[in-house]
Amino acid sequence: MLANVGFFTIVVTFLVALYGAGAAAYGTLRRRPALVDSARHAMLLTWPLLSVASGCLIGLLVSGAYDIAYVASTTSSAMPLYLKITSWWGGQAGSLLFWSWLMAAFATAASARSWERDREFLPWVIVVTMITLAFFLSLVVFFENPFARLWMTVDGQQLKALFQPAGAVPLFPADGNGLNPLLRHPGMVIHPPMLYLGFVSFVIPFAFAMAALITRRTDDRWIRITRRWTLVAWLFLSLGLILGGRWAYDVLGWGGYWGWDPVEIAAFMPWLTGTAFLHSVVVQEKRGILKHWNMVLIILTYSLVIFGTFLTRSGVLSSVHSFAQSAIGPMFFAFIGLTFVISLSVLISRWSDLKGDNQLDSMFSREALFTLNNLLFMGILVVCFWGVIFPLISEIFTGQKVTVGPVFYERATGPLWAGLLLLMGVAPLSVYGRTSWNNLGRAAWKPMAISLVVPLAVVLLGVQNVAAVLGYWLVGLVVAVVAYEFWRGALARRKLHGEHLLVALGRLAGRNRRRYGGYIIHLGVVVMALGIIGIEIYQTETQGTLARGEQLTLGRYVMTYDALSVFDTADGKSVARAVVTVYKDGRNVGELYPRRDYFYASQQPMTIPGVRSTLEDDFYVILVDWQPIGTQGATFKVYHNPLVNFVWGGGLIFILGTLVAAWPERDPESARRRVPARAGAARA
């Protein structure tokens, strides 16, 4: 019953979304405001409807209705309640419903504003959001129905359908398969929703951009409206990526957090264009240039979101992350084709409307440096995109299957990342408008000189790797520049207002959230970079089979294999838990408990590493599960990951910075004050 209600609600929402898009387009083209209003109401209906449908699905998941195919494949009675709820996005069909629910929510939220100044945008925003929503709902309705039931035909075949097929009887499995063990981790619980939140929220700026193009309102109004949306979308996408990395590190057991797998890259590419976009819209707001480029960037971001979702779910690329193959591939392809063609046509037809002031005073001005930032991000994007697409090209044109692995991406993007780090250090010292090489040099030389302390110290401490020294220097430079900026600003406030230094710092960031929030984000990024340098350049590993009492050595660490216990748990798995003692420089620093979980229902093993984490490094021990595990001999794989916890710490700073930057202004007028073109002195 619940399943029928759920499916019916989805069908209704699909029709409502189609109506909304159609009515909005027709209403604005034929100047019938009543139709546009009706379309708006239709859009507002979609979220409550989808909430009902989602509620039905969650109800079925939680109550263990295993006659529903999706419930049987993603839950089992042994699973705890919170995991059953997260099964909503654990499988293909449910995750498409989740996507749609988010899309409806954001469309509603985006429309909850005063449209007085932008009446002409509204219908086109509705059109874009509702067409996107209708597309995802069409996948659910026609191909991946989470409410389909299980049936058994006379000749023993299992079918999935909502209503009884002729000659089939309903199946009522006693229990479900349960969620893939790898997905039963807190990181995995939040990572997909974060990514989807990021993807879906990027649809809103795209919708406004399309609206601006179509209605020819090509000033930066659409950018101002969506400024916070873009930042929040970017925040969620960044969080999703970081959480994915943390999950991989905790659970996948290969001592790393990013494998340059095609599906990871598919989620990373919109982040690259999104970051470039975040920077270049600042330039358009300040100087009125780069209008064409910003349109290109937002179209690219949206296209990459859809394209990335397509790559993940269609099976076109070989990847560890792929969902099972399904028929939605061709549908996605058609939608992507339509998206590319229509966005490109609209952009080209309005190209001349986007003519900005197109004046630049100096190659060393901040706006010029921002364009350099964009160039570097695009360079990284090209590397990622090409690496992902090339195996397909190779297979089509030569029949040879090839793998493009991490080495390619690391070597190709390394110098570009270094360039970005350098820019992060230099750009804050630059100014808008008329400036010169001398000015920039004068502003930059002091922090640069101070930062040289870092590579010096590091080389004296024995670091010989050139890339590492360079990396450390750049990290030091950015930290110095950010500190310098905060210092200068706080000092000036203190001079003017007599505030205590800490209060000055707080008010500084508060008055200039975008600028100082941005600095905090940069700080977070370089702290992460520090961690990445540590683990990528200096990771060491070893593997060995030990009998009880024997030991393994890695660098300054010695590990002894003490004990092993094997037992079954209540949630249907067999656990082999080893006890190892870790010694650093001869001193006992603690015990670790690497374990191997084997899930009976799905016959899948999972290894959980035992990790000793300090700021300096991680000592990471895995119980290798493809060799026999016993007290006579168990195989351990040990990684030493220096500085890796800076990655997670940097991530936190990153998030904090984004919150500062995105926090609503207390005083709306100060936010909207524009800096007229060609002004010299500038605040952010």
Partner: protein
């Protein structure tokens, strides 16, 4: 969706046109490549009636077999691997079928899919397989048949076309015999 009326008067420069053409070529080219990739993933294994390209199999004992030279005979091509548990279910039956049909000119070729030679030989010895088996070097043969996994069996008729495709292990000797006899019939 597009409101094409009232374009601002801007003479279309040749440079601008070139740029537009370039962008369209890139976008449509990308769509074409992805489209072809998609079609390939949707394509199943080689289907009955299709004519796979001839290949050469170099057996473990060194003898080479070229399917182009085997036109006119029924050829049973079985993909297997020593690490593949379901393959063991049909191993004995395949050998029995070979013994039964070899005098009728039916050729059995076992293609060892991404395996290691010592383990492969051990597998052959364990099941007493006497028909020729060789490694699929560079996975070229399995790519030609677009196999999805092992075991899979493809039977070529005397005309060189696929007469029968079996995904998964055969359940009985009778099933194999039926398939071969169907392929033998004109």
């Amino acid at each position: 969706m597009t409101d094409g009326q009232g374009e601002t008067a801007q003479p279309a420069s040749p440079k601008r046109n070139f740029g537009i053409v370039l962008v369209w070529v890139a976008v449509l080219g990308l769509l074409a490549i992805v489209g072809v990739g998609l079609i390939r993933t949707q394509q199943g294994p080689a289907g009955v009636g299709s004519k796979p390209n001839p290949f050469t199999l170099r057996a473990f004992d060194g003898v080479e077999y070229n399917t182009a030279e085997l036109v006119g005979q029924v050829v049973v091509i079985n993909f297997w691997a020593s690490w593949c548990k379901p393959c063991e279910q049909e191993a004995a039956e395949l050998e029995q079928a070979y013994q039964q049909f070899k005098d009728q000119g039916v050729v059995f070729l076992g293609v060892n899919y991404v395996d290691t030679e010592p383990e492969a030989r051990a597998y052959l010895e364990r099941f007493g397989i006497t028909y020729p088996n060789g490694p699929d070097l560079g996975t070229r043969i399995s790519q030609a048949f677009r196999i999805r996994g092992v075991p899979e069996t493809y039977i070529l008729g005397p005309d060189g076309r696929l007469a029968h495709v079996k995904i998964g292990p055969y359940t009985s000797l009778g099933e194999i015999a039926e398939a071969i006899q169907a392929a033998q019939a004109p």
